[in-house]
Structures are given as C-alpha cells and as structure tokens.
C-alpha cells in the first residue's frame, strides 16, 4: 500500500521538481568527487593546523595543540610575516598596474590596423607559457643575465636605463621616492606584461560588446577619444574590471612562485605539516577577505546596463 502511494507521488510530482531531481543526477559525479578530493582534504588540513602532526604508517598521527601553530607562525617563524607583508604589498601595487595596462592594451588592440591578429596572438602567448616552470626559468634567467652575465643584456633590462633617462631629463635626485617608483615599475614591466594575457582578452571582449549606438552617439556629439574613453568605454567595461580584478588577485595569490606559498612548501618538505597548514590557512583567510572586500567596494562603482 505504502509502495503504490510512493509511486503515485513520484508521478504526481510537479514537473519542475522532477526536473530538479535530474539536476542532482547531473552534478552527482562532481559532488562525490568534491567530497572526496576537496571537502575532506580541506577539513583535514584545517584539523592539521590545530595539531602537531607526524606522518606515520596508516596516516597522519597528531596531538591537539590548539592555537599553538598559529601563534608560532607569527612569533616563532622569522620569515613568514615578512613574506606575507611583501606579497600583500606587491599584490597591492601590481594589481592596479596590471589592470590599467591590460585595459590600455585592449583598447589599442581593439582598433583596426595591420598586423592586429599577430599582435593579439603575441599578447595572449604568455597565458600558454607563464603558468609553468618555464616561466620561472625565463624569469630567473632574465634577472640573472642582467646582473651576472658580463653586462651582455644589461642594456635591455637594467635599472640604469631609467636612471640615465632621469639624468638626461635633469630631474635626477629631485625626488628619490618617485624615481624609485618609476624604476620598480619599469623593472617589473616583464612581470606585468606576462601576467596580463587573460585580462587583455577579457577587456577586449567587453570592448567589442559596447553597442554601436553608443559609439555613434558619441561621435555625433563630437567627443574626443579622451572623453569617449571616460564617458563610454569605462562605464561599459566596468563589470569586467571587477572580474579582472578578482582574477588578478587570485592569480597572484595562488601562484606557486609567490613567497608565502614557497614558505608553506618549505615547511611541508620539512615535515612540519601543522605549521604549514596554519600558514596556508592564515593566507587563505586573507585572500578570501581581500576578494570579498574588493567585490563589496567595486559593486558600488559598477555600471550595469539595464535591458
């Protein structure tokens, strides 16, 4: 009796709800995988961060030490807070630079000129290479060859160039701080260009989505390119600025060559899983807070076109 009732219920179930059940079917595989390979390891590493862990046959053995790992990370480890600060500072000034740069390049690449296809292909090239170990070698080689290789390449990637430019312009020594800033930017141009591939592409797509009517209206009113950029381009692109911003922040935070991550990995190879987990979790909490804050603040400035 109960069985037939159940069957009837299934048949009588509203269409939308039956469809919903199929939805579970579609995500079931992922859900199982996520529970095994994401949720469980995540909780496990959170548990490690409160324990002194020793690898033993059959799994990790550990004793509960409370917040000791977290306290140690800040007070006992000399490098961690230093690295953390430097990564945060670097992300803070590099992210806006990457964004401005990629928007600028996207605007240029959106214009019509000869060799546009080639230029686009080149600017996207770093995405193919920059995530791998190749990038580390390239990066290391470039910084090495500037200093150690008998000045062979110092003409191309050296600090002297900017210094000389300043001297030439006669403003050498007027403002050390400003000079430092310009020098760091020009020294890091490689890092910026090589990390802007995806962002350029996203902006490019957004630029192509600007309606022709807006473009025509601006031209009829006689807007200069400058005005056009601030009044038309920027508002239309603003939703994508948020996407790019978050992408850039996550990208720089999770890069394996970043100092904090390097420190975490060092700890892991020293078998100090408790400390490594605590470090990683502090770092992750900061990333999460940063992304949340950015989203909150940016949402106030974004222009969404109402259809």
């Amino acid at each position: 009796m109960a069985d037939t009732k159940k069957e009837k219920k299934l048949i009588k179930m509203p269409y939308e709800r039956r469809k919903g059940l199929y939805g579970y079917g579609f995500i079931a595989l992922w859900l199982v995988g996520t529970l095994i390979w994401f949720v469980y390891p995540l909780l496990e590493s959170l548990r490690y961060s409160f324990m002194e862990v020793k690898p033993e046959a059959g799994g990790m053995q550990g004793t509960w030490v409370g917040l000791d790992n977290y306290i140690y990370v800040f007070t006992g480890d000399q490098n961690y807070s230093k690295y953390l600060l430097s990564v945060l500072v670097e992300t803070l000034w590099k992210t806006p630079l990457i964004l401005i740069f990629s928007l600028f390049i996207a605007v240029i690449l959106n214009q019509k000129f000869r060799g546009r296809v080639f230029a686009r292909a080149v600017f996207f090239l770093p995405v193919i290479i920059a995530t791998g170990p190749v990038y580390n070698i390239i990066n290391g080689d470039i910084s090495k060859s500037g200093a150690a290789s008998a000045g062979q390449f110092s003409t191309m990637f050296s600090t002297d160039l900017t210094g000389e430019l300043f001297q030439f312009l006669g403003i050498y020594g007027i403002s050390d701080k400003m000079q430092m800033m310009v020098e760091t930017v020009s020294n890091n141009i490689f890092g910026i260009v090589w990390n802007a591939g995806i962002q350029i592409l996203i902006f490019l797509a957004a630029l192509q989505n600007i309606p022709v009517s807006a473009k025509e209206a601006a031209q009829m009113e006689g807007a200069t390119a400058w005005e056009y950029f601030w009044k038309i381009t920027l508002p239309y692109v603003s939703p994508m600025i948020l996407a790019c911003l978050i992408f850039t922040v996550i990208d720089s935070f999770t890069a394996p060559d970043n100092l904090v991550m390097g420190r975490v990995l060092d700890m892991q190879s020293d078998w100090q899983y408790g400390w490594a987990a605590a470090m990683a979790w502090i770092y992750f909490a900061i990333v999460l807070a940063a992304v949340g804050l950015i989203t909150l603040v940016m949402n106030k400035f974004i222009y969404y076109e109402v259809d």
């Binding site: 995988g33 994401f38 770093p126 080689d141 008998a150 797509a205």
Partner: protein, 352 residues
Amino acid sequence: MAKEKPVIASDGTLVGGGLSKKEIKKIHMRNMNEKEIAYLRRKELIEKVWPVSRFLILFGLCFIILYPLIYMLSCAFRAQEDMNDPTVMWIPRHFTLKILQQTWQAMDFGSTLTNTLLLNIGCSLVQVVTCAITGYGFARFRFKGKNLLFGLVLMQILVPSQIIAIPQYMEFRYCLGLQPLIEKLSPALGAKFNLIDTPLTMYLPALMANGIRAGLMIFIFRQFFKGLPKELEDAAYLDGCGPFRTFVQVMIPNAGSSFLTVFLFSVVWYWNDFYVSSTFFTKNNTIALMLKNLNTRLSLVLFNSATVEVSPREQILWMEAGCLLAVLPLLIMYIFLQKYFTEGIERSGLVG
C-alpha cells in the same frame, strides 16, 4: 560632424559635381565655426601621429613578450664557447645541435613526452566531459541547495591546491583508508594499494570533475549553457526527450567550439602543472617536472664526469634548450589553434 566628412569625400563626385575632394573640403570648412575647425584639425593630427606611436608601443611590448622565446632559440643552437664570447649577442657564431641533443637525452624527451601526452590529453578529455555535465546541471536545473553547492565550486576556484595537497597525498597513499584494512588481511596485497606514482592520481580526480582548475571549467561551462536559448531544450522535452538525451543530442552539438576551447585550456594547464604532479609523482614523469628539476638532472646525467667543465653561465644554454623543448609542443598547438584560444574565451561565455 566627424562622421559626415568621409561620406561627402567618398562620393564627392556626386555631391560636388566636378569639384575635387580638396575643394569640397574647403567649402565644407567655410561653413564651420572655429570650434569645429579646431576639432577637425586636432583629429587629423591625432590620426597621423597615433598609428606611429601605437606601432612603437606594440612593437616594444611584443619584444618584451617574445624576448625569452628568441633568447631560447638563440641559446639552443649555440656552442658552449659562444657563451663566453662577448660579440655573440643573438646569432650564434658556432651553430650546433649538440646542446639540444644532450638536453633531449638528459630529459629522456621521447618517453617523457609520450608519458605527458597520455596523461595530459587523457585527463583533459575526461575532465572536459565531466565538467560540462556538471556545468549543465548548475546552469539548467533548479534544485535545493544549488546556491550552496555552487558556492563550493567558487571555493574550488579560490582555494590554492597547496592547502589540500597533503591530505590528498594521504588519500592516494592509503587508498582512501582502504589500505590498512587490506594490509591486515594480506600484507602483499596491501602493498599494491598505493596509488602514488600511478597515473590514477591524475585520472581519478579528473574523472570526477575535480582535476586541475576544474572549478574554473565548471564555471565556464555553466556560463556557456546559461547563454544558450531555453527554447532549444523545451522543444526537445516536448518531443519526448529525457534530460540526459537532451543534453547529449541537443546541447552538446551546440557547444562544440566551447568544448574545444576548454579542452585546449585544460591541456595547457595540465602541461604546465608541476605542483600537483610533484606531490603525487616521485619520479620525473612529466615534462613540467623534468624541467623543474632540470638542474639536478643535468648535473647527474651530463656533467657527472670529471672531464666536463661547465660554468654556471654556460649552464644557461642547457636550461634554455630544455625550455625550448618543453614549450615547443604547446607553441605548435598554439600557432595552429590560436583562433580557438582567443575567440573561444569570448564565445565560451566567460565574459558577461
């Protein structure tokens, strides 16, 4: 104003009746006030100066991007003594393939490449399919807890793999905790239940849509399927298709280019990954791992004998040759399929 000018100029013969373009322009200018003339002048000036500066900017930046690649090419074909010759800047004086051959040998390139390709393409294929199914589930069905579960997808994008690597290692090492139980039954059998160093460490997560950057792929697919018109499905349902058949027969044929793009990205990500694979592989099985440890590998294989003397500066040659070998397959793929990379992102719905 600006829009008007070219129109008149282009079919000037019609409007002006025998006047040359210059004369038309003159007449046109006479009717304008000062402000308009200034605007036009400025515009003309910018139109002349801008292409030149645009070329310079792009040329410089393209050079920065291509510099390492050119340097790789230049280094890979150099002889050792060229490294100490200050007159050699880009073009090697002693053109040789020796360095490339030695690096090829040291990296065991042939078998490493097949290994990498098998792992890479297999995982990517599997992962694209599973991620597409999951993305479709998130895009088109309404069920309880969907937002919460999608939050989990976003978390997967955010959480760096370093956090979860060690527990994952434990899972593979002890087969999800099965190994100790089996070992109690028979130690010999128990020893076999160790997945570390087997390709399964890569395949299993990929099979369950949890491989490298799976979160991002699910996200992309969800955005893409959301963008497809709903009428497509409704028509299929009316004709009596079940959801799974609809997905296979109606949605997938429409998602071809999107599939290809995500697949290509997945190949690139798997190719470049060295962190995850270095956690699960103790040997240098993939090209990325090999490259990461190329320094030690070189000193082990090539520079081991007492007769060979290589300065650190000369070692750059082998490193660059290794880079070139590692990048080359990707580059070839990129050259031929570049369209799918760049246009794909726009079409796949990551944007908007």
